[in-house]
């Protein structure tokens, strides 16, 4: 029999060959084999992932072999587009992440598995929202407006991704990938360069993530149960002002805004006020004199204020997270199966948020006869998101916790939620608990295939697949009249249902042949694919509910909206690949795809995407045979074209719509209306990326494997909403025009540092440096703004920030007078440097263009959200059943625009403030960079400037897993295959200078151009989980 050196388990499917003959067999499910062999012959055992063994028979009748796992991984099989390859045959750039690396981690959505583990793959969770949007950038961003997310291909199906929600609750997005169960995944292969990805043609410019689910295995049936439970909490919170501090601040703001006049009187709004407290109360007290919410006395003596609410403590919570997965895997030579069921349940660390998922999967392969294999993969999942209002939203939960004043109580005496009548923001606890919004996503991913080894032509086989990705998204919103968001409408609700049906039919032939006495091996592939996706949605909206108990729309008396809509796209593609390998040393691979899509304009229906790559495995050269140091040395390079077809389904057509170009419904007099929405562009086509890649792989002493790669991506025909004069009636015109480049280095290392006496220590590390630059926008297209402070301009990176530059704080009226005098000298009487109301304590902004006054031209690029480098390091240790793995992830050199701070330290209005404002400028506290407090901020100290731009670099101990596996001796007595218990910590330590709640953030979830912006965004949690793996 044949067993593995790892754990002594039998190895089924090992190829056993009599050396020098074509005679061979393979081992059965229990690792046993039978073969006729001369008594003095030799047997060759080979199995993927293991070192080939050559054993002399020596007259034995039983020859047992123990195969060593191959540390060089060169015989590892990796999944490529439309097939698999041995790792050593790969000439493109592919990173792999295995099930093993992520099995113990609390992962909501599969993209999280890639974070820090694959060189050049930058994964940013836009927020800590359970089931929320995640941005994945493979080798940088290569699009401005057509999306930068990679193509996800699950078991061969390019699936629909993104957000299916049609109900706005702020910026946080839904993420359709979160309904895949990460536990079902065997491996992720990330196709990074054109040589690897061009086979996916017009959809591959952002890279391709191939997700392969677990397949059945011949051998004893294995039942695995994995259960985890844990708790999440914030790792950082803001310190708000106390009630007295806050009311003191308000009074100071008003005092600074309305200084006493020459006669010593307080005059404002055409009235004279006895004290500043009276004036402040008039502004912040709410107008009803008899029943002021804040009165003059509390401003004149803030120490009398007794209410000090810490809203953060009201909405943040310790929240449970749990997962349980059961899988059964087994089969024999003819039938193999994998079935699983899992449940994942996560409550968010912000009250009211949560996500849970139920999923099942069945993967079956059946060998019908020598030439025919059929199989099917089917998964069903249901995920439920409890969503909360968020981010840029006066009803958002965290938003209101930041923005509501601390002198407001949580509840009124009668138990109802207290609100600030002067402020438009909701009570945070009411925001978290009263409105309901549930999104339910049902997803069926299914495919069936047949593999036919065509008998007449050895080496030729046909694979036909039919696949389906059916997604149903249903959401129900109810805003009761007790919540501010529903109060005006006397209760409001939305019910919406969306369905996306994506089908795929593919047929392809593969051909393998060796020639020239086995020195040349050829593999070829040719096929065709048809795919269509049809989206439909129905929405109903109603207001005026009879109460807050019936939340269904049938109860509402005013049906305010009812609509249905649909859209669709289709692709028709042909693809081919041809590979040569001469003597295992020289490799050449060519691939091509021809894509036609319904999205492309009439003049550009077909796109051709070729690639070529070559490899030289120097280590196989005869002159390397006698050295023992290098176990691998391989140089490879490639070039190819890929596209981005994510250009909108009907962007090329001139259209009149029932909602206008700004999204307003076009109706009047209870009759339908139409409005022009876009100008035709029959030339519209995919964005085109040309990518070159060169890589070198080293292996030393069977212990270290090192890969270095350099790439250059040049993207042209970028889709741009070219701004046109809106006096034309259209604000922009969609055109292929801009160009952009990404270039960078990637390094990855895997090392067996120590392996003796049962103690094993390995390190896996990767780091990537990417430089992105927009090379040109279209002729006549000026740079344009995105998000709050982001800027897209030729010569700058995507995600750049632009704004004013602070130049200290005006300390005296003399300084202001001098600046104003210079402005008057240039622009005449009345001219001022910044604002007529600038006073000491206000920020002085830099006069960038030197014209003597501050205008919108005095803004400049302040930095970019894109990091200079990022990566991850995993150290794994094992000894006597104990395993420990420490995963450190880092991002360095990117900036964050902290728009939260522009409000929480803005000191311009009634909004709650954080303790940073305690260091504000006053005549006695002048050595500070926080300006004075002044009502209405006449100097616009809050304008977009480097004041709110912060270094977003961070390093964090992303995961630590400590586990203990019970020894075999104990297990045998318990009749259990394996038992392992572990404890896991996520985000245990974060090292950053960023002052916000979390440096991994983007309020513009899903945006290509507005990156690294924090605005009242749900932070990441620190999570500790305990888990148990049981194997039977």
């Amino acid at each position: 029999s044949v067993t593995s050196s790892d754990d002594g388990s039998p190895l089924p499917g090992v190829s056993v060959q009599v050396k020098g003959t074509t005679r061979g067999t393979s081992t059965d499910a229990t690792g046993k084999y039978q073969i006729t062999v001369p008594a003095d012959g030799r047997l060759v055992f080979s199995f993927i992932g293991y070192v080939i063994q050559d054993v002399a028979v020596n007259n034995r009748t039983t020859v047992n072999a123990i195969l060593q796992a191959d540390a060089t991984n060169l015989n590892e099989v990796i999944v490529t587009g439309y097939g698999t390859q041995l790792k050593r045959e790969v000439t493109g750039s592919i990173s792999t992440v295995n099930a093993k690396q992520i099995s113990d981690l609390p992962i909501t959505s599969v993209e999280q598995a890639l974070q820090g583990r694959a060189a050049g793959v930058q994964v940013t969770q836009s927020s800590g929202t359970p089931g929320g949007g995640i941005a994945v950038r493979i080798r940088g961003a290569s699009s401005i407006s057509a999306g930068n997310e990679p193509l996800y291909v699950v078991d061969g199906i390019p699936i629909n991704t993104g957000s299916y929600s049609g109900i706005g609750v702020g910026n946080s997005q839904q993420n359709a990938l979160s309904n895949l169960n990460p536990s079902d995944i065997e491996s992720f292969e990330i196709l990074k360069d054109a040589a690897a990805a061009a086979i996916y043609g017009s959809r591959a410019a952002n890279g391709v993530v191939l997700i392969t689910t677990k397949a059945g295995k011949a051998g004893a049936t294995q039942i695995d149960l994995n259960a985890t439970y844990g708790q999440q909490n914030t790792w950082k919170r803001f310190t708000p002002l106390t009630g007295p501090q806050f009311d003191g601040l308000l009074n100071e703001m008003v005092t600074n805004r309305y200084p006493k006049n020459a006669a010593g009187n307080i005059v404002a709004f055409g009235t004279s006020w006895p004290t500043y407290g009276d004036l402040t109360a008039a502004i912040f007290g709410d107008g009803d004199d008899a029943n002021k919410f804040r009165d003059a006395s509390q401003f004149n003596d803030p120490s009398t204020v007794t209410t000090s609410t810490n809203w953060y403590d009201q909405i943040f919570r310790q929240a449970p997270i749990s997962q349980i997965d059961l899988s059964v895997r087994g089969g024999n030579e003819r039938t193999k199966f994998y079935v699983s069921a899992g449940r994942f349940d996560q409550q968010g660390i912000i009250l009211g948020s949560g996500f849970n998922r139920l999923s099942t999967r069945v993967n079956v392969d059946q060998t019908v006869n020598k030439s025919l294999t059929v199989g099917a993969k089917l998964s069903l999942s249901r995920s439920v998101s409890n969503r909360i209002q968020n981010d840029n939203n006066i009803y958002g939960v965290l938003s209101t916790a930041v923005l509501l004043a601390p002198d407001v109580a949580v509840r009124n005496a009668d138990g109802s939620f207290a609100r600030d009548p002067v402020s438009s923001v909701e009570n945070p606890l009411a925001a978290a608990t009263l409105p309901q919004l549930t999104g339910v996503e049902l997803r069926t991913l299914g495919s069936a295939y047949l593999d036919w080894k065509i008998p007449f032509v050895p080496g030729l086989s046909l694979r036909s697949t039919a696949s389906l990705d059916l997604l149903n998204f249903r959401e129900d919103q109810f805003n009761p009249s007790t919540a501010l968001i529903g109060r005006g409408a006397n209760g409001s609700g939305i019910a919406r249902s969306a369905q996306d049906l994506n089908w795929l039919a593919e047929n392809y032939l593969t051909y393998r042949k060796t020639a020239l006495s086995g020195n040349l091996s050829i593999n070829a592939l040719a096929g065709a694919s048809w795919q269509q996706s049809t989206f439909e949605s129905v929405l109903a909206q109603a207001t005026n509910f009879p109460g807050n108990s019936i939340t269904r729309l049938s109860a509402a008396s005013v049906k305010s909206d009812a609509s249905s809509s649909g859209t669709s796209w289709g692709f028709q593609s042909y693809f081919a690949r041809l590979g040569f390998d001469y003597k295992n040393r020289y490799q050449l691979q060519l691939s091509v795809r021809d894509d036609a899509s319904s999205r492309f304009g009439a003049n550009n229906r077909y796109g051709l995407f070729p690639s070529v790559s070559a490899g030289w495995r120097i280590v196989e050269e005869p002159f390397m045979k006698n050295q023992r140091v290098l176990t691998n040395l391989n140089i490879r390079g490639g070039y190819g074209l890929t596209g981005n077809a994510n250009i909108g389904n009907f962007s090329s057509l001139g259209l009149y719509g029932v909602s206008d170009q700004f999204g307003n419904n076009v109706r009047y007099l209870q009759s339908p209306g139409t409005a022009p929405t876009q100008i035709a562009n029959p030339d519209l086509k995919w964005e085109k990326t040309a990518q070159s890649n060169i890589g070198i792989d080293f292996g030393f002493l069977s212990r270290f494997n090192f890969t270095a790669e350099y790439y250059y991506k040049y993207t042209t025909d970028l889709l741009l909403n070219r701004p046109i004069p809106s006096s034309s009636g259209f604000t922009n015109f969609v055109q292929n025009s801009a160009s952009m480049e990404n270039k960078g280095f990637e390094f990855s290392l895997s090392s067996q540092n120590f392996n003796k006496g049962g103690f094993r220590w390995t390190t896996d590390a990767n780091i990537a440096f990417n430089r992105n630059k927009v090379l040109s926008l279209a002729d006549g297209v000026p740079p344009f703004a995105a998000g709050f402070a982001s800027w897209v301009a030729a010569g700058e990176a995507i995600g750049s920030f632009r704004g004013y530059v602070t130049d200290g704080i005006f300390q005296s009226t003399d300084q202001i007078a001098a600046a104003n005098a210079a402005a008057v000298a240039k622009f005449g009487t009345g001219a001022v440097y910044q604002s007529a109301l600038t006073s000491p304590g206000d920020i002085r902004f830099k006069d960038i263009n030197g014209d003597g006054r501050i205008t919108s031209d005095d803004q400049q690029i302040l930095g970019s959200a894109q990091p200079k480098f990022f990566g991850g390091v995993t150290n794994s240790f094992s000894y006597a059943g104990i395993d420990l793995s420490v995963f450190y992830q880092f991002v360095s050199g990117g900036y964050i625009y902290n728009n939260t701070k522009a409000f929480s330290e803005g000191m311009n209005s009634i909004f709650g403030q954080t303790d940073g404002v305690l260091n504000r400028w006053t005549p006695t506290n002048t050595n500070t960079n926080v300006p004075r407090a002044v009502y209405a901020d006449p100097n616009n100290n809050r304008r977009t400037s480097n004041r709110f731009l912060e270094d977003g670099s961070y390093g964090r101990i992303k995961n630590v897993v400590l586990g203990y596996t019970l020894p075999k001796s104990v297990l045998q007595r318990l009749k259990v295959r394996s038992i392992r218990a572990y404890v896991q910590g996520q985000n245990l330590l974060t090292f950053t200078k960023y002052s916000g709640l979390d440096p991994e953030v983007n309020t513009f979830s899903g945006s290509s151009t507005a990156l690294g912006t924090d605005f009242l965004t749900f932070p990441q949690a620190r999570t500790v989980t305990f888990g148990l793996n049981l194997g039977f």
């Binding site: 055409g270 009548p421 923001v425 795919q531 049906k559 305010s560 859209t567 259209l655 809106s726 034309s728």
Partner: protein, 427 residues
């Protein structure tokens, strides 16, 4: 099946979007629709000039509103940009109707009906440009639909006088063809001949063509009467006084009440009536808009259905237009008529007639008419700020006034997209 053959399901090909009576009507409704969107009179253009003129104060969160309240507007102000965009979108909708309807060959679409549709569209074009010229002064005049992108879209500003000439030419065409009324109360939602006459009078007022203003205002008054109870104008829709009133319903809402009302009433408390406005009313004035308890009944209050109609022009304003024109024309007879007209407004509001001293003085009457326009038309169509500018009172009534503040900046994006445009002075 051919996977490449996909067609839009919620849009029409623009080449065939207006090709019969039904689609022409839909495109015309589309042209009305732009006026009542949130960035036009549906919220912003009704409230922002009153915020700028001081009838409203800013209590909310939008920095773009704060800039307008402070009259320190940056060229990238979102409200300014959005208003420009939607108004010109409206112009393009109108131009499509005007250009395409006469070419429709649908036999069921009679020449008369085509004329009506074109006349309504022409009226709307005049109104769009009237809004543009008041906010920005000279603007590009576009009278053809946009179908292709070319450098020809980079149109320079025409002087304000040319814009007014275009407005008057369109209004004259509309007056010649529009019907006097439409069936049903909601017919007030569409352009009628009196609406065009009333608008023509108002435009004349801005051009200080007093005789025209007086004459057209008089013609526009026929068939309308003041409602005895002022608040009925807003509590009942489409009253006998209303000449043109944008129609809203629960499926076609606006956010006026939402922006004005306090959070306690379900609003967002973005703006509220100013102390200055509230104290301008006398205690007995039926039109009073108060800062305190202002929620109960201001002109827009249907927060739960958000379907407050927006009165674009009504007899009350036309009477004041005529009074102002006559007063400016001067002469005892004109002055006496002006006093009578103003007294109609005062009486309805529960005030006593103007004093003899005021009635005898052209200059005092000028102030009285200005005040009555403010009190009568507060929060309607932004009249107060335009009146401050047009009558030259802004310098004395508004703090830190700079004449450049009379106009909004041309949006930065528009200047960038159209090199032929020159920014307004002071921005």
């Amino acid at each position: 099946c051919n996977v490449l053959d996909q067609t839009p399901q919620a849009s029409l090909d623009s080449a065939t979007a207006i090709n019969d009576a039904t689609t022409a009507q839909a495109a015309l409704y589309g042209a009305y629709n732009a006026l009542q969107t949130a960035n036009a009179y549906g919220t912003r253009l009704t409230l922002l000039p009153d915020l700028e003129g001081g009838n409203l104060t800013h209590t909310g969160t939008f920095p773009s509103f704060a800039q307008i309240a402070n009259r320190s507007i940056l060229t990238d102000n979102a409200e300014v940009t959005n208003a420009w965009n939607i108004l010109y979108d409206g112009v393009n909708r109108v131009n499509n109707v005007i250009a395409k309807v006469p070419t429709i060959t649908d036999p069921t679409f009679s020449a008369d009906n085509k004329n009506f549709v074109v006349a309504e569209a022409t009226f709307l074009r005049a109104f769009y440009y009237f809004t543009l010229v008041r906010l920005w002064g000279g603007v590009p005049i576009i009278t053809q639909p946009t179908t292709v992108v070319s450098s020809a879209l980079q149109v320079a500003k025409s002087p304000a006088a040319d814009v007014y000439a275009q407005i008057n030419a369109d209004l004259d065409k509309a007056i010649a063809s529009l019907p006097a009324t439409y069936a049903g109360a909601a017919g007030k939602g569409r352009a009628t001949k009196p609406a065009a006459l009333a608008m023509k009078a108002k435009v004349a007022l801005y051009q200080q063509k007093w005789a025209d203003a007086a004459s057209f205002a008089q013609q526009a008054s026929t068939g309308y009467s003041l409602v005895p109870k002022f608040t009925d104008l807003f509590e009942a829709k489409n009253t006998a006084e209303s000449i043109w009133e944008l129609q809203q319903d629960p499926t076609n809402q606006n956010s006026l009440a939402f922006f004005l009302l306090s959070t306690a009433r379900g609003g967002r408390n973005e703006v509220r009536p100013s102390t200055s406005l509230a104290t301008s009313y006398s205690a007995t004035d039926a039109r009073a808009i108060l800062t305190t308890s202002f929620d109960s009944k201001i002109k827009y209050y249907r927060i739960s259905t958000q379907d407050d109609n927006i009165i674009m022009i009504r007899l009350g304003e036309v009477l004041l237009t005529r009074a102002e024109a006559l007063n400016e024309l001067g002469g005892d007879a004109n002055l006496a008529t002006a006093v009578t007209l103003v007294n109609q407004i005062r009486t309805r509001a529960g005030l006593t007639p103007v004093s003899a001293t005021t009635a005898a003085s052209q200059s005092l009457m000028r102030d009285e008419i200005f005040l009555q326009r403010r009190l009568e038309l507060a929060l309607e169509g932004g009249n107060y700020f335009y009146d401050l500018v047009r009558t030259g009172r802004a310098a004395t009534r508004l703090a830190n006034w700079n004449p450049n503040q009379a106009l909004w900046p041309i949006p930065n994006r528009e200047i960038n997209a159209n090199p032929a445009l020159k920014q307004n002075d002071g921005y």
